[in-house]
Symmetry: C2
Subunit: 328 residues, 2 copies
């Protein structure tokens, strides 16, 4: 066995914990430690056998970490941490504020280039594997129509939006792709859909005692952007039921493209994910891209990259020779 | 619009014709000509507005072609043409003799390196996109089980095997994936299958007049390697029905991987193709990889490559900036 790739985890929420588990599933890697903004001693209970450091100590660990996996949020953590850590380490992150990706890319790119490091931004599954599949599918079927469906799965953003309504104690919103719409695409009909024809929104709410349930329901289904363009169902449930049945974070979706060559033969390309845990799978993808960041840096390919820039062999534990012999 | 990528097609069978059509769907490409072993004047009838040359003339066209797409067969054409053309042009092919790929890679690699050219071998969908998906799925779910199902679609090899039986005039063999088996995989059960549990073989035969149909059927279903390990159905049909209903070459399949993280959350990753025409889609994939070969060569990345070595952005018509802005 060659030397192992030494991983640092920055941020210890759902994704940080998933990365910690995923590193153990990859025999060419080991975890140097977890860097947190909390008091490290508060975290010791939660950890299995991982070491924990205050986030400010990271700059003293540049000799002990090959790739830092940034597990903070896109709203406030990554815009600051991304460029900062890219100036110290090879990095991987799951930055997902779509509109600001070009800016974020540029900031990380200059920091990484200057430091001679390699940073892969916006990995995970969407952005990430789904983005990659959209591009590949379009490249092999240049004349056609593309579709992305999400779910069934929990949307954190929509759940949070409901929680901000007065009288709501807890909420879970499931995004449900409409099977009939997916079937239409698979049939090669290249349909056009209104927003409400692609997804349903299914909400489970724990209300405060004595809250006006009708008002809550009305505020949900009429909420602009989040719900008003969708068919939305609202179900009020007791707190115990929320705990028992809605604690998981499943997700997934479908990336489809249909095309037709000029002899009229139709083709359908489909990629889909059915995930028991959204952060769990995201962590697993981040770790595979950490391998790519490490290898690219060894080759001198520095600066910021995205999933579009990474050849599949960089993700794999196997050597190019093994891949050609066994996987073609 | 930048200068267009000039394509040469070597071999004008089903795949060569599909490449000719696919080049027209890609606005950054143009067809320089088709190179054939047949007498070029015999082909003029079949062509739309493409130029045709004797294959021997290719060596005089090195200034007029950026990428030669080799559309010959893997049994006898490519082992000779692959290295030969790699010494003259950037090339793309769909070499699919799995056991001999490492040898073929080495032969093409030395020819291409010496000439400063770039050759992408074994593209198409399997080997090709399916191979790539197997590697990506395994990389993001290192602990799990992988499955490939083929079809529903026509297998040329199996159809040819039946045609060699005495008394058989024509034959079409459909490989049918067993839906129940795919459902089991999707359910995350990580099942193990016997060969006959994954695929059925469905055969349509035009027999010669007076042929012993029982003997033909027995010879088919007991044929080692091809049929004896499968549940096989044999249907004798009139020649007109074969012409009317079995002229297309549909194909496709499924690449699945299931895995579980150590919290017990299961994930299913699935890639599938439903192809109206097997050669049609293969041609379309070859053309996308021709774009990659051209760009890699411009960057000085010479030698033989496979789908594992090609980052998605090389396949796309869009610039890296556009991809980051619109497709992440």
């Amino acid at each position: 066995m060659k030397e192992r790739i030494r991983i640092g985890i920055v941020g210890y929420g759902n994704i940080g914990r998933a990365v910690e588990r995923a590193v153990k599933q990859n025999q060419d890697m080991e975890l140097t430690g977890i860097f947190t903004r909390r008091n490290p001693s508060d975290l010791v209970q939660e950890l299995n056998d991982s070491k924990v450091f205050a986030i400010g100590e990271a700059k003293n660990c540049t000799d002990d970490i090959d790739v830092a996996i940034l597990c903070g949020g896109s709203a406030t953590d990554l815009p600051e941490q991304g460029p900062l850590f890219a100036s110290l380490f090879n990095t991987v992150d799951s930055y997902d504020t779509h509109a600001l990706i070009p800016e974020y890319f540029d900031a990380v790119d200059s920091a990484a280039r200057e430091a001679g490091k390699t940073s892969i931004i916006s990995t995970g599954w969407d952005p990430g594997l789904f983005s990659m599949m959209r591009v590949i599918e379009e490249a092999v079927l240049p004349e056609g129509a593309s579709y992305t469906f999400w779910g069934p799965g929990v949307s954190q953003g929509h759940s949070d939006a409901i929680r901000r309504i007065i009288g709501v104690k807890d909420a879970r919103q499931y995004t449900i792709p409409i099977e009939k719409a997916i079937e239409k695409v698979r049939a090669g009909e290249a349909p056009e859909f209104a927003i409400r024809e692609k997804h349903l929104r299914d909400c489970y709410i724990v209300a405060e005692e004595g809250a006006d349930l009708e008002r809550i329901e009305r505020e949900i289904v009429t909420m602009p952007h989040y719900f008003s363009d969708y068919d939305t169902t609202v179900t009020f449930i007791p707190a115990e039921e929320m705990r028992a049945n809605h604690g998981k974070m499943p997700h997934g979706g479908f990336v489809l493209r249909t095309g037709r060559d000029d002899e009229g033969d139709g083709h359908v390309v489909e990629f889909s994910l059915k995930l028991g845990s959204n952060p769990g799978f995201t962590g697993s993808v981040l770790v595979a891209y950490a391998r790519a960041a490490y290898r690219l840096n060894k080759e001198g390919q520095t600066g910021a990259k995205t999933v579009f820039d990474i050849a599949p062999s960089y993700l794999s534990l196997k050597s190019p020779e093994e891949l050609r012999k066994n996987d073609l």
